[in-house]
Amino acid sequence: MAKVTFRIERCKGCRLCLTVCPKKIIAIDESTLNAKGYHPAGVTEPEKCIGCAFCATMCPDCVITVER
């Protein structure tokens, strides 16, 4: 049981989290723009998350909180 929360208003859409997710369940949400004008990242299949925190470790902007 694991949960990641993305604080999308802080996301700059840099995609670094995508590159490290072992489950490949993070994607850029092209349908959303945050206040800074970026398409933010988010989890597509939350049930597959293992709470490894790789995404949060790689995120330069402290967008991601991980619970397990």
């Binding site: 694991a2 700059k12 859409g13 709470g51 949060a56 470790t57 995120c59 330069p60 902007d61 402290c62």
Partner: protein, 255 residues
């Protein structure tokens, strides 16, 4: 469920001004995590330098002093000598530390000042828009080496860890990178050890962090990480260049 990863307390909750994918954000967080884990946010004074991180004092929750270009190790010397029970660190880029501030870093190291330097090497000047840094690689294109860095015209890239590790006052010298999760974890361990070395009063400690500058490298953050892994590490090998025994170290099994 409990929270296993969140913003450290020593990093102020505000948006960073860095470009998308800039790894300064990761390195800031690692320093802040170490301040949290060692419980020293309230007893630490950081020194911000000149470059993209000139205002890192807006992000770190400890007391901060902004220094002139290259002078952070001298400023840190003044602070640490005045506050012997405090922890003092500098956060400097490659232009600041290895060009204009070469004298200050070399002499702070050789005096064995009890300070910790976080040296971010991204092989380029970021703030002033992509000029050659002392650490720019041979062949690397920058706005002041438009046809690539040529040794006969621009000299050779400086290897700071190798240079400083020859000095007796520098007791902990390590080069890390933040190009993948495994390396980020190693980077944090190195930063933590560097602070512990200072706390033990053993001498000068420095962690060089290979970092990316997607904007001025002209690469996506993802490609920039690959470029770091494929090009920078070859010239700047990762690993420990100088170590010292800490009181907290477990007795090492001799090989």
């Amino acid at each position: 469920m409990s929270i296993v990863f969140q913003r450290p307390h020593a990093l102020i909750d505000k948006p960073l001004h860095y470009c998308p994918g800039c790894t300064h954000g990761i390195i800031h967080r690692l320093v802040a995590e170490v301040l949290d884990e060692l419980g020293i946010e309230g007893t630490t004074v950081g020194v911000a330098s000149v470059g993209c991180t000139y205002n890192s004092y807006e992000y770190f929750n400890c007391d901060m002093v902004q220094a002139a270009h290259g002078r952070a190790p001298a400023v840190a010397t003044g602070i640490r000598r005045s506050l012997p029970d405090r922890t003092v660190f500098t956060y400097q880029g490659d232009g600041d530390l290895a060009a204009i501030g070469t004298a200050e870093i070399v002499h702070a190291a050789t005096r064995g000042e009890k300070i910790t330097t976080i040296f971010v090497n991204n092989a380029i000047y970021g703030m002033t828009s992509g000029q050659m840094a002392p650490t720019t690689l041979i062949g690397q294109v920058t706005t002041t080496t438009p046809f690539g860095r040529k040794p006969e015209l621009h000299g050779y890239p400086v290897r700071v860890c190798e240079m400083l590790s020859t000095l007796e006052g520098a007791v902990y010298v390590e080069r890390v990178a933040v190009n993948n999760v495994q390396n980020i974890r190693k980077a944090k361990a190195a930063i933590k050890r560097a602070f512990q070395v200072q706390q033990a009063g053993l001498g000068f400690s420095i962690v060089e962090v290979l970092s990316i500058c997607p904007t001025n490298w002209g690469l996506s953050p993802e490609k920039a990480l690959e470029w770091l892994g494929e090009n920078m590490i070859e010239h700047y090998p990762l690993g420990n260049y100088k170590n010292v025994v800490l009181p907290s170290d477990k007795p090492a099994s001799k090989e």
